[in-house]
Symmetry: C2
């Protein structure tokens, strides 16, 4: 079976044949940081199919509403315009007009239709977009865009907010003698508990993929990756994942393709999402730990998820992780209030492979080993409820004094 080659920290989107990118500085932030890249353009001259998943927040930013509308329109699609520094959220009708004007300017500059562009924003909520500056920057992006790794890298940098580093990945595999690509870029940091976060992620592939198959593949991957991470439990108004498939390779993948190809493609999309989701958690705002919370043996998938999220979002649990304190009592407490079926006398808890509690009975003699485990930057906690077969895995972070300090004002 063909193997996937997974390369993190690449140029990202421009690794996929047929895709161009640009990242420019157009002075979007309130602090007028003139050198900071804040507008990304991703572009395919060849028409693409597209799929997307969006925040389930009832308060959706204007660009989310526009993306949903364009996606429903069905394409063909040619690109994504994404700015950082301003979320264009809670900006009412003006916000929607500004998002539309952005798509219109790209379309006019490139002689395409406005509906062929997605528009995404991330940053401060409730401030009007500085549209004239953004549109000026967009024109520069159109003229500067290109296919080199530097172009890709600059686009990945331009969408960052409180992120400390760019997040890119390229997954490739050879099928039928031909090398194919799924590449992506993302930003994360705070307000991260995607259901479908202030996170954005953009993927591109050189396959030709029918719309419905592309959406199904993306939705499944997002459910198992981006939607299984939490930094602070806050779900953003702007969360968006988009994938563009430009067919540059001349090879199609869809429901009727050979099973091997379908599986390879789905795995490549999943892997790209998984690497980017992991990068988002690992670069969460002011975090010092990444903790994998695995819940097994739950009566239902919903119960497994509830328990994992109660633990991953508990302030007391997160504070203890920050302090290298193997405070399993707080784990049991959070599991108990998750609203899932749970019987204390059946509950197993482990730090990595070291038992903490078996069938409700603590192993106090192992305390020194727990302490060693939780000192690491990354470790796992497993709970087995012994009530069924359902599982859930959540990637979570600690909560630090620096997070609170960082977020006490914008």
């Amino acid at each position: 079976m063909t193997q996937l080659t997974v390369t993190p920290d690449t140029a990202g989107i421009t690794d996929v044949p047929g895709f161009e990118a640009a990242g420019v500085a157009c002075d979007i932030r309130e602090n007028h940081d003139l050198k900071r890249l804040d507008l990304a353009l991703l572009f395919s001259l060849r028409a693409c199919t597209a799929a997307g998943t969006f925040t389930k927040n009832a308060v959706k930013a204007a660009p989310v509403l526009l993306c949903q509308k364009h996606l429903a329109h069905g394409g063909p699609f040619h690109g994504i315009i994404a700015n950082s520094g301003n979320a264009n959220a809670c900006t009412g009708a003006e916000g929607l007009r500004n998002a539309q004007a952005t798509a219109q300017r790209a379309a006019a500059s490139l002689n395409l239709k406005p509906t062929s562009f997605f528009v995404c924003s991330t940053g401060r909520i409730g401030q009007p977009l500085p549209l004239p500056r953004l549109l000026k920057g967009l024109e520069r992006a159109v003229s500067e865009k290109g296919r080199t790794p530097v172009h890709g890298t600059r686009s990945a940098d331009a969408i960052l907010t409180s992120d400390t580093r760019a997040k890119t990945v390229t997954v490739s595999f050879t099928y039928d003698g031909k090398k194919h690509f799924v590449s992506g870029m993302a930003k994360g940091a705070g307000m991260i508990q995607p259901n479908m976060a202030t996170m954005l992620a953009f993927l591109a592939t050189d396959f030709s993929v029918p719309r419905s198959f592309l959406q199904k593949t993306l939705s499944e991957a997002v459910a198992g990756t981006f939607n299984c991470i939490t930094v602070d439990g806050d779900m953003s108004t702007n969360d968006t994942v988009l994938v563009l498939a430009n067919g540059h390779s001349g090879v199609s993948v869809g429901e009727k393709s050979p099973r091997e190809l379908r599986v390879l493609f789905a795995e490549a999309v999943w892997k790209a999402c998984e690497v980017l989701a992991d990068k988002i958690v690992s670069d969460g705002e002011k975090i010092t730990k990444v903790v994998e919370v695995k819940v097994d043996g739950a009566a239902s998938a919903e119960d497994a998820e509830k328990v994992a999220r109660a633990i991953g979002n508990s302030l007391l649990v997160k504070s203890s992780w920050y302090g290298d304190d193997p405070n399993w009592g707080r784990l049991a407490d959070a599991a108990g209030y998750a609203g899932a079926k749970l019987i204390e006398s059946k509950l197993d808890i482990l730090y990595n492979d070291t038992p903490v509690m078996t069938a409700g009975k603590p192993h106090a003699e192992l305390k020194s080993r727990w302490k060693e485990i939780v000192k690491a930057r990354r470790f796992a906690i497993t709970l087995n409820l012994h009530l069924g077969k359902a599982s859930f895995r959540l990637l979570a972070t600690d909560l630090t004094e620096a997070y609170v300090n960082y977020n006490k004002s914008e």
Copy 2:
């Protein structure tokens, strides 16, 4: 109509005729703080009816299980034994034996039945109780108990953990020429989002009250007071509210009493709970602000509560309160992900009486006034969803760097 007299910071339980109390130091904490009061005994020689509400956590501490069993047994009841420093939670069968042994020792010392005593614990989870020391302390409490304010005060001090001050209240009113009392004591601080918190609250009254009426009155009061507060969103394994009615006044109150008396009694119980709940929030671990989150105009009571809790438990919202930052975008974001019906274009938000957003449109010109409001130690946020008539009011706190530091290890 008769008025209630509400006096906070009293002796508490011993203000009610017929109730005795004691607070003793019996070395329950791991750090062997020998001078710290850590065991309270509340006692009525006259037989009491009782009612209680308990944590809905699936992981219930042993004393909670014992209280539920004794309450179901039906009484008569004579008292409450409560220790701090050790929650006797996640301690398995040994924990339950220890709680039972505590009730048995009290019963033997006072020539009563074990089922006539409630046993409560608060403190560290997952440590076995130092039972011999506790029982020795209990015998001292039995011999030292008395009716003076000092006895009441010492009992209120003995149940504290990370609280910085004792929490007591006495509500009294005159009915038919006779003065009646509802007094209470509580502890709170961390792991506070009661549904029915590591909170304990004990109330006493000198009315004679039938069990079912007492339970109904207590449950209604708890639902509107203790269950409407949050410090950190963590629901404890030990939360317990108990009320004892000793009939010392010779006056009964129940379903068939005159409406005025029923209403007065229910109001007195509610008021006592409200004052204690407010004290718990105001003394939340390392907090600097108390924020009243009011949600009006929701389509349902559940929706109103979801929105209030999403706001009151959002790390980003709580961090901004700490920073005196009127970050209404985070309020709108949290309201949006609460899982309630919400239409952005109908949403009003106010800081105290100053509008932030009306029908989805922000009033940026009022920013300096918002800033003044959120500088206060206490302020209100009101959201009107304009979708119905349901409301919910939550008392919440900010999240501070000191909270994270305090809880990073036990």
